[in-house]
C-alpha cells in the first residue's frame, strides 16, 4: 500500500494536518507511527485504513481486507459481545457457521469467553478494547491498523497484541501501529515513522551510529508522563531510578551505549527487560535515561 502526496485537513479553512505524506508499506512489514499528541498520528492511520479520504493525493494498493482498531472502541451499542462480533463477522462476509467459528476462536484467544453474553455498554474499557481487537481479526486482514491498541489492556492481553501482529505479518499482511505508551518496544523489527508538523519522516536504523545516553532529572510525579513522551518521540528509555543524589539538572556528555544485557528495564513489568534488550541493537538515536522517581 502506498500513500502518495497525501494532504488532509478537517475543515475547508482549517490547517493541514497532513502535508504531502508520501510513504509505502509492503507485505509482511510493520510500521510504528510516532509523534506528539495532536500531530496527526490517528489521522494518518485513518487515511491508511480508509476511514478518511485525503483532501489531496491518494492511497493506492490498499489491501481488500482492512482491520481497524480505533483508539476507543464504540461500546455504546445495544448488543452483547457475541451478537456484536457475529454481526461484524457477517458484515465482513463470513457465512453463519464461519462467523460463529471465528467469534468462538477470537473470544477464546482474547480472553473474552466469560463476557460473551455481556452487553457492550457494561464492559470495562479494557474488555471493550479486546472486542475492538477481535472485530478487526475476524477475517485475516491484509492491512491491520492499530490506534493505541495497548490502551486499557491488562498485562496478559498486552502480550497478545504482538502475537496478533506477528500473525498478520506471517500471512504477508501489513501492520500500522500508533503508540504513546512505549509498548512498541515489543516490535523491534518494525519500521518507525515519525509524524511532526504534518510531515512524516522515517527513522533509519543503523548500528554504526554513535549512541549517546542523556540523563534527565524530572519530578517524581511526572516520571510516567515524561517516559511516555520520550518514547513517543522515538527515544529509548533505558531505565528509571529514584537515586536523587545523581539527579543532576544538567545533561552529561554523551557516552557510548552500554551493552544490551546491562540495560535495566524502564518499568518493572515482567518481560520488560527482554524487550529493551531486544530493541537496543536497532537503536539509532540518542538514548535518554530519566533518573528520578519510581516508575508507574
Amino acid at each position: 500500500m502506498r500513500l502518495e502526496n497525501v494532504w488532509l485537513r478537517y475543515h475547508r479553512r482549517g490547517p493541514w494536518v497532513l502535508q504531502g505524506i508520501d510513504v509505502r508499506i509492503g507485505p509482511g512489514e510493520a510500521a510504528i507511527v510516532l509523534g506528539r499528541n495532536g500531530v496527526g498520528k490517528s489521522t494518518l492511520l485513518q487515511v491508511a485504513a480508509g476511514v478518511l479520504r485525503p483532501g489531496r493525493g491518494r492511497v493506492t494498493d490498499r489491501p481488500a481486507r482492512v482491520g481497524w482498531v480505533p483508539e476507543r472502541f464504540p461500546a455504546d451499542q445495544p448488543f452483547t459481545v457475541t451478537r456484536y462480533l457475529t454481526g461484524m463477522a457477517r458484515v465482513a462476509g463470513l457465512g453463519r457457521a464461519a462467523a460463529d467459528e471465528a467469534v468462538t476462536f477470537w473470544t477464546d484467544r482474547l480472553g473474552l469467553s466469560g463476557f460473551r453474553s455481556v452487553r457492550l455498554p457494561e464492559l470495562s474499557k479494557g474488555t471493550a478494547q479486546k472486542v475492538g481487537l477481535a472485530q478487526a481479526m475476524l477475517r485475516p486482514p491484509g492491512l491491520l491498523v492499530l490506534d493505541e491498541p495497548w490502551e486499557g489492556l491488562d498485562a496478559t492481553t498486552r502480550e497478545l497484541v504482538p502475537e496478533l501482529i506477528a500473525d498478520v505479518l506471517a500471512a504477508d499482511g501489513s501492520v500500522l501501529i500508533s503508540d504513546h505508551r512505549g509498548e512498541t518496544v515489543r516490535l523491534p523489527a518494525a519500521r518507525r515513522w515519525l509524524v511532526a508538523d504534518g510531515s512524516l519522516s522515517e527513522e533509519t536504523s543503523s548500528t554504526d551510529e554513535t549512541i549517546a545516553v542523556v540523563e534527565v532529572a524530572v519530578p517524581a510525579a511526572r516520571v510516567a508522563g515524561t517516559v511516555a513522551r520520550l518514547r513517543a518521540e522515538g527515544h529509548q528509555v533505558l531505565r528509571v531510578r529514584s537515586d536523587a543524589s545523581t539527579a543532576a539538572p544538567q545533561a552529561r556528555p554523551a557516552e557510548p551505549l552500554r551493552s544490551a544485557g546491562a540495560a535495566r528495564p524502564a518499568e518493572p513489568s515482567p518481560g520488560a527487560a527482554g524487550e529493551l534488550a531486544a530493541v537496543q541493537p536497532e537503536a539509532a538515536d540518542p538514548v535518554v535515561e530519566p533518573t528520578a522517581g519510581e516508575t508507574r
Binding site: 485513518q46 476507543r72 464504540p74 454481526g87
Partner: protein, 229 residues
C-alpha cells in the same frame, strides 16, 4: 450489505428509539382517520403526506443510533459505497414497515369506506393508488432523513433544521400554484392525484419526479460525507 442493514435495524429496535416515530405516526394517523370515513385512495393520499416527515425522522433516528466510530468500522469493513447503501437500505426497510402499518391502520379503526356513488373507485383501485402514494414517499423521506443525519450535517440542531425545512417545504412548495414545485417531492401532487383524475401518464410523471428529487437529495447526502473514506 444486507448483513450491515440487518445490524443497523437491530440497533434501531434494541435501543427502543424506533418507538418515537412509530407513536408519532400512529397518533397522526389516528387524528387523520378519527374524523370520519373516506374513500381509500383519497384517505391514503393524505396519509402519505403526513407520513413524509415521520418517515424522514425515522430514517434520521436509524442512521444516528449507530456511534460514529462504529459507522467508520463498518465502512472499513465493507467499503464506502456499501456502507452508504446499507444505511439507505435499512432505512427503506424500516419505512416500508411503517407504510404497511399505515395502510392497515384505517381498516382497523373504520376510517375508510367502499364505493358509495357511481363515480367512486373500487376498493382494489383505491388500495393500489394508496400503495403508490405511500411508495412514492419512501425514497423521498429516506433521502431527506439521510441528509439530516448526524453523519451528514454534524450537530443535532442542523439535523432538526433540515428535517423541519424539508417537511414544511414539501407542503408549502407542493401547494397548487407553487412558484417552485420542483423544490419539493411531489407528495402533495400525489395526494391531489389520488383524490382526482389519476391518469397513467400523471402517475408515471410524478413517480419520475419523486425519484429524481430523491436522487438529488441522496446526492447531497453523499456529497456531505465525501471526506469519509
Amino acid at each position: 450489505m444486507s448483513a450491515l442493514a440487518r445490524m443497523r435495524l437491530a440497533g434501531l429496535l434494541r435501543t427502543g428509539r424506533a418507538l418515537a416515530p412509530l407513536l408519532a405516526g400512529l397518533i397522526t394517523l389516528g387524528t387523520l382517520y378519527g374524523g370520519g370515513r373516506a374513500q381509500p385512495a383519497e384517505a391514503y393520499g393524505v396519509s402519505a403526506v403526513v407520513l413524509f416527515p415521520v418517515l424522514a425522522w425515522q430514517t434520521k433516528i436509524l442512521l444516528d443510533v449507530e456511534p460514529d466510530v462504529q459507522r467508520r468500522l463498518a465502512q472499513v469493513t465493507v467499503g464506502v459505497a456499501r456502507e452508504r447503501l446499507s444505511g439507505l437500505l435499512a432505512a427503506a426497510v424500516a419505512a416500508l414497515v411503517t407504510v404497511a402499518v399505515a395502510l392497515l391502520f384505517p381498516w382497523l379503526v373504520g376510517g375508510v369506506s367502499g364505493p358509495v356513488g357511481p363515480g367512486d373507485r373500487s376498493i382494489p383501485v383505491g388500495l393500489a393508488l394508496g400503495l403508490w402514494a405511500h411508495l412514492l414517499v419512501v425514497p423521498a423521506a429516506v433521502a431527506l432523513g439521510a441528509l439530516a443525519s448526524r453523519a451528514s450535517v454534524g450537530g443535532a440542531g442542523y439535523g432538526v433544521a433540515v428535517l423541519t425545512l424539508g417537511g414544511v417545504g414539501a407542503v408549502v412548495f407542493g401547494l397548487t400554484g407553487s412558484v417552485a414545485p420542483w423544490l419539493a417531492p411531489p407528495i402533495m401532487a400525489a395526494a391531489r392525484t389520488t383524490a382526482g383524475d389519476a391518469a397513467a401518464l400523471t402517475l408515471l410523471g410524478l413517480t419520475g419526479w419523486a425519484l429524481a428529487w430523491s436522487a438529488a437529495v441522496v446526492g447531497g447526502y453523499l456529497w456531505r460525507r465525501r471526506a469519509e473514506g
